[in-house]
Symmetry: C2
Subunit: 417 residues, 2 copies
């Protein structure tokens, strides 16, 4: 099918989806779980074929890990079940008022048609489908060419589930050609697609922004900071930093740079290196931190930081440490190098915490907590479709509510202006 | 100055503006009113020169009317004074909760830097500046080449006002070259500009969407409908239709098409023609309405509607009338032809009103009211920077709050995941 036809089919399906009841939407998610469970053998076989081909073509092991559903299908379907339990945002009325002799309110509506472009992970197919359908949206999915077989089987099952509850199968469609030209075409379907959500690295986000005529949610890139203030509880701060750096180093909310107040730098730098190197962390140190490490004979796993290091999202067990002379210098560093994802302060000083919160403009700003909490599940959204670091529409984790828009509903009495 | 430098200056100014207090922001608006008042002679002289040149170059009288500030300056400055009285949305905390042992809330922030592209109307320079500054944002303005002198004098006064209250003059900048290449450059300044707001016709919106790497608020194009249901109070409905069509026919929320239930078509069509033609309205009639008009001998100001008429935003004293067999057909017509701006139903039937509100997906949906109410001032926002008909970020009139984003603020107790 041409992309234009897919777009038109999605747009038509979007009208039906926008009017579907909560019961109907929950029913399709239940059917989807049961269909995929019933076809688990086919899903996993197709996935195995995808993996075999990826291995043969020399894809690296991290990519292959992201590609694999083996042993994971059940837990992925659990996520769908949790979406069933979440409240349906569509139809919610808010901002009610009487003004100008009119009864004015807003009513939450689905956005319409989402274009989702992602790589490797076939679990995204299931997650995005569950969130899109529950919020009354449709989606055109364009997974990576390396997961075509897996995604094909999954979307077949999803479309059967839709048909079974009398919702249009075109609510969820998959671009079945690996040709990149279809990504370009999807990005220009502004007559039928309302929002583009890229899930992948910086290059994919840039490509979408530069080639899309549809609004793009950019995000998912995190150069994340924690500032250890002079009043911070150092022992407890070390635990937070250890968690933020090592609990899952390959994700966007993992810590990249620690800024430490010079008053506590000497005690902190040595302890941080001692603790974190046990978990395999290596370090990039600014001249001051390097001096401290050198005097303590702890430079084994350390390099002297280069300017580019401060703007690097490590996605691995590497941590930058820089000594700053005060809170203001920490905030300046963050303003210069943060990607606006997740940044925090560790402090006992309430006024410093307040200033940090006021002046640091990131999607999530933390006081005495790990950056790893920037996640839909952790922050109470139940699930997430993406983490936005741009400022339009939604910022931070995007769950069901962030997949909605609103309309103004105005009741008058044959009112004229 | 190069566009890149303007962008960098705006981005730097945006940090200062985001931290400005409400008092400071109100002070700059007051200064702005007094500066422009003091320089009223220069403003009006520059405006006269712009008008003279526009007349010499043969610009049409509607454009010249939009260009003129003569006799209007005082009322435009009144709008700035009303923005001073509006509450400052920045810093507002909302969606508070305790979850996962964390204190979680959202804090409203400015968006950052707005790129505003508009034609003719120099009053937009003043309106946008007032709303942008009050909401802690910066703006790069690109007015039409026909208003360069007027805008130059206005922005000079605005920058003096900024300097006087120690806010960065670069918070409001004007692109001073008429060369269209600078519009293209502005649309690609995604490193420093957060949002593009076009104010103009469909061609400008399309140009922005197709050439921008920054999110664009599209809107301002309204093919607007009112459906006269069989239970509607016909006399009162006629007054609403008269208001929606004739009160200001050149704007986007003016009525374009009336759909009328066949049960009341005969009575309605003749009365509507009789009433509206007194105000200079001419008509485009579907075959059924034409037949009714013909039988009554009322086709003087009427043409038989062509398919393209239903998708035309008239912006003038022309009205389409189509007879439909029921509510469902009215909703279908609107789904096909509406631009999603403002559509309404006139009815005494509550269940029809509810169905119309549920199924019509436009920025503003009316029950028994004129479409002309889709306006920031009319709906209680105090003022508006644009009317969005896209579904991302904000829909309908955009006031101060719609010029903000938010950040997640999370307080923990050295919390780890």
């Amino acid at each position: 099918m041409s992309m234009k036809k897919m777009g038109a089919a999605a747009k038509a399906a979007a009208r039906a989806m926008s009017m579907a009841s909560t019961d109907q939407k929950n029913a399709v998610l239940k059917e989807m779980v049961s269909m995929i469970s019933q076809h688990a053998r086919q899903v996993l076989d197709a996935n195995k074929e995808d993996i075999n081909e990826a291995e043969a073509s020399g894809l690296d092991s991290a990519m292959i890990d992201r590609l694999s559903l083996q042993g994971r299908l059940e837990s992925i379907l659990k996520a769908v079940e949790s979406v069933i339990t979440l409240p349906d945002p569509v139809g919610e009325r808010f901002d009610r008022k009487v003004y100008n002799h009119l009864e004015i309110e807003k009513c939450r509506t689905p956005i319409g048609v989402l274009g989702v472009i992602y790589e490797s992970r076939p679990d995204v197919t299931i997650d995005v489908t569950a969130l899109a359908l529950k919020s009354g949206n449709c989606a055109i999915l364009r997974g990576g060419s390396e997961t075509l077989r897996t995604n094909g089987v999954l979307v077949d099952a999803i479309q059967k589930a839709l048909a079974k509850v009398a919702l249009p199968a075109a609510a969820i469609q998959l671009v079945k050609s690996p040709d990149r030209i279809y990504v370009r075409k999807l990005l220009r379907l502004h007559d039928s697609v309302d929002l583009i959500i890229p899930r992948g690295g910086a290059a994919l986000h840039r490509f979408c922004r530069e080639n899309s005529t549809i609004p793009v949610i950019t995000g998912g890139i995190g150069v994340c900071h924690l500032f250890v203030d002079k009043t911070a509880d150092l022992e407890r701060s070390l635990k937070v930093i250890h968690n933020a750096k090592t609990q899952r180093p390959t994700v966007c909310n993992a810590l990249d740079t620690v800024l430490v107040h010079e008053a506590v730098a000497e005690a902190f730098v040595v302890k941080a290196i001692d603790l974190l190197r046990k978990s395999g962390v290596s370090f990039r140190l600014d001249p001051m931190a390097w001096k401290i490490a050198e005097q303590a004979g702890k430079t084994d796993n350390c390099l002297q930081a280069q300017p580019v290091d401060w703007e690097t999202e490590w996605l691995s067990l590497v941590l930058g440490i820089r000594v700053v002379k005060d809170l203001a210098e920490a905030i300046e560093h963050i303003a210069k190098y943060s990607t606006g994802h997740s940044d925090g302060i560790l402090t006992q000083d309430k006024s410093h915490a307040e200033r940090f919160v006021r002046e640091v403009d990131s999607a999530a700003v933390y006081v005495n907590a790990s950056t790893r909490f920037t996640d839909g599940g952790q922050l109470g959204l139940g699930a997430e479709v993406a983490i936005s670091t741009q400022k339009l529409h939604a910022r931070g984790p995007m769950g069901l509510c962030e997949l909605t828009s609103y309309k103004w509903v105005v009741h008058g009495d044959y009112s004229v202006r």
